[in-house]
Amino acid sequence: MVPAVNVTFAPAGFASASRAPAEHAPAGPGLTETPADQVLAGGQVLAQEAAAGIGIYLPLVLLIVLAAGFGVFSVLLGPLVGPSRYNKAKTAAYECGIEPSPQPVAGAGRMPVAYYVTAMLFILFDIEMVFLFPYAIAADALGLWGLGAVALFIATFFIADFYVWRRGGLDWN
């Protein structure tokens, strides 16, 4: 997942960076107000530092290699160092100790809806993190206004959480 995000992000950044000098040249280093423009400006600085050439892709390639290596390493580590003792519970469809119920009937059975709720909750918190991370990086620059905005964001996020909690979304049964 991580490498994929990087791959799609990078060309877009560079695509705009390659045209950026023409547009931003009169404005100097191009430090504009919004976070979106900072990303663009960052790409521009990168482009200027590495001059033209394949070198600018080096950090990206390193990152991809690192991510792939981490994935391969994690997957291989278990089988290599762990004991191989199989039992019935471990070969079941969901290896988390819970019987899938009702049992799938020839491809037409239904998963318990609780799995979906859990998955959705994970995505919600995940997305919250995605938004909080850039804020944390730029918190100083954004000042009091940024704090207010992110507080509002978290507050509205918790409205949904309250709903899930009160309507029993967090109870497994």
Partner: protein, 523 residues
């Protein structure tokens, strides 16, 4: 990675926010959040009343805020929230239209007397056809979540019509669409059909969103910005490859035309209109259409006026296809809700004609048409919800035979609404068509207007078929009964009929307001 860190020391200025201008939207979104909290903390038996009061109250409050702002608004509109929202005359008119339409739609949603317990299912999560599902048909509860969902959708529509850049527009598009997908699946009767409608709408909607996003990306690649005004500037004078511009425009339009149910991107419309609970269908048919065409108007006028010569021919074809599909296929429908759906596709074609005339008359004509069409179609669905048999609404045409003998008032009201849809004078439909077509004519689209007139005559056939059926056929012995409408549905239908009649007789006020100013370009 140093360059990123190096910039963090700069302070970022907070974008200015004109709170007065965006107050109506804030009220609607705020009320939607409060609605979710009501669902979370208020006991079950009090939720319905709480939600109805909150929803209607917040729409009324938003309306008052809008009225207060309109009286002292700046002449050329304001661009606020950074440059993301443009609150100008068309946006304010569309907001007023959306708020007024949603009052009527929420009244229909809230009605619990036509169908005991309301049109919405008590527990949407139960699989259709199971024992639990059959048992819950008898229960009188309903999923009151539909009220905050409607408010979220309404807020999304308001943001959509005011969005000044494509990214804001896309987010607003999703905010308005996601609640609608869900609401489609909440019908109390015919659960399977309803859920199928929801899934279809969701899948195809996601598909259309992808087109929109792809178009957005290409346009960003072309102009280096997602702001509508920047795209216009870039299109007016650069030597960059136009491939990106036109491919982007095409894909962007696909996403927008889908929402407006314009042919050939209409395929979801009949299925979804048929399967969704009728109040939701009414809400979608009226409000989504308003929002979608508000968006199309803004995109075409603000961002692509300079290239209108290139895209106009293609839009001609789309408008003709839409009118042809709506008018011709409407002839063979046997289900009333499907028939009105095809009528909506034909109307989308007419609307597109007004949208293409990038003149002041075209703008005001299209805005007026949206207002008029919204109320008429909303009231028509209201009437449809009243004709029922033992399995729920009797939407098959044969069930409507001889309805005039059993309920002359209902048949009369429905006849009036159909005549308005057909564009007979003294109804709002006539004035709407008239202003749109004359705007198109003065912008040099005479052949298209002729085609539109022919198709509007063809479309009159199938409206008439229903009238003939209601008045001149013998009623079936085991035909449907006409429910005595509750106060809510009565108010909703009455509102629609009165507006349809008033806009037919005295359209001056609405036309004046619709023509009071153009889009704010901002920067």
């Amino acid at each position: 990675m140093n360059p990123f860190l190096a910039q963090q020391m700069q302070t970022v200025e907070a974008p200015g926010i004109d709170w007065g201008a965006i107050l109506p939207m804030v009220i609607v979104f705020g009320a939607a959040c409060v609605g979710v909290l009501i669902e979370a903390f208020v006991p079950k038996h009090q939720r319905w009343s709480g939600q109805v009061v909150l929803t209607l109250g917040s729409i009324a409050a938003a309306g008052i805020a809008l009225g207060a702002y309109v009286s002292g608004r700046p002449e050329h509109g304001v661009v606020t929230m950074g440059t993301t929202l443009s609150i100008d005359t068309p946006a304010l008119f569309l907001w007023g239209t959306l708020l007024a339409l949603s009052v009527a739609a929420v009244l229909m949603i809230a009605d619990r007397s036509v169908e005991p317990g309301g049109s919405f299912v008590a527990q949407a999560g139960i699989a259709p056809g199971t024992v639990q599902d059959r048992a819950q048909v008898q229960s009188t509860g309903m999923q009151t979540e539909v009220f905050p969902l409607a408010l979220f959708a309404l807020g999304g529509m308001m943001a959509f019509t005011a969005a000044n850049d494509l990214l804001t527009m896309f987010i607003a598009l999703e905010v308005l669409s996601l609640p609608l997908y869900l609401m489609c699946g909440l019908a109390r009767r015919r659960r399977l059909l309803s859920q199928e409608a929801a899934v279809k709408y969701f899948l195809l909607g996601a598909f259309a969103s992808a087109f929109f996003l792809y178009g957005l990306a290409l346009l960003y690649g072309y102009a280096g910005s997602v702001k509508l005004a920047d795209i216009a500037t870039a299109a007016a004078g650069t030597d960059r490859s136009d491939t990106l511009l036109f491919a982007g425009l095409g894909l962007l339009m696909v996403g927008l035309l889908f929402k407006g149910s314009v042919g050939p991107f209409h395929t979801w419309t009949p299925d979804v209109y048929q399967g969704a609970p009728t109040p939701v269908t009414a809400f979608m048919a009226a409000c989504t259409k308003v929002a979608a065409f508000g968006g199309i108007l803004r995109v075409l006028t603000v961002a692509f006026e300079a290239t209108s010569w290139e895209w106009r021919g293609v839009m001609w074809a789309v408008a003709i296809i839409s009118m042809a599909i709506g008018a011709v296929l409407g002839l063979t429908q046997t289900d009333l809700k499907r028939m009105i759906a095809y009528s909506s596709i034909a109307h989308a074609g007419f609307l597109l004609i007004g949208t293409m005339a990038l003149t002041d008359e075209g703008l005001s004509g299209t805005l007026f048409y949206l207002l008029a069409y919204g109320f008429t179609t909303l009231a028509a669905f209201g009437v449809i919800s009243l004709v029922r048999d033992s399995t729920g609404e009797a939407t098959h045409l044969s069930a409507w035979a001889g309805l005039a003998k059993r309920s002359p008032l209902l048949a009369g009201v429905f006849t009036f609404l159909l005549l308005a849809l057909a564009g007979i004078p003294l109804t709002s439909g006539f004035v709407g068509k008239f202003v749109v077509f004359s705007a198109a004519l003065s912008d040099g689209m005479a052949p298209l207007v002729v085609i539109a007139l022919v198709f509007s005559a063809v479309a009159a056939f199938f409206y008439l078929r229903v009238v003939v059926l209601m008045y001149f056929s013998e009623p079936a012995s085991d035909g449907p009964t006409v429910s005595v409408p509750g106060a809510f549905t009565t108010a909703s239908i009455a509102l629609g009929v009165i507006v349809t009649l008033l806009l037919g007789l005295l359209p001056t006020f609405a036309l004046d307001w619709a023509g009071a100013g153009g889009f704010a370009l901002g920067g």
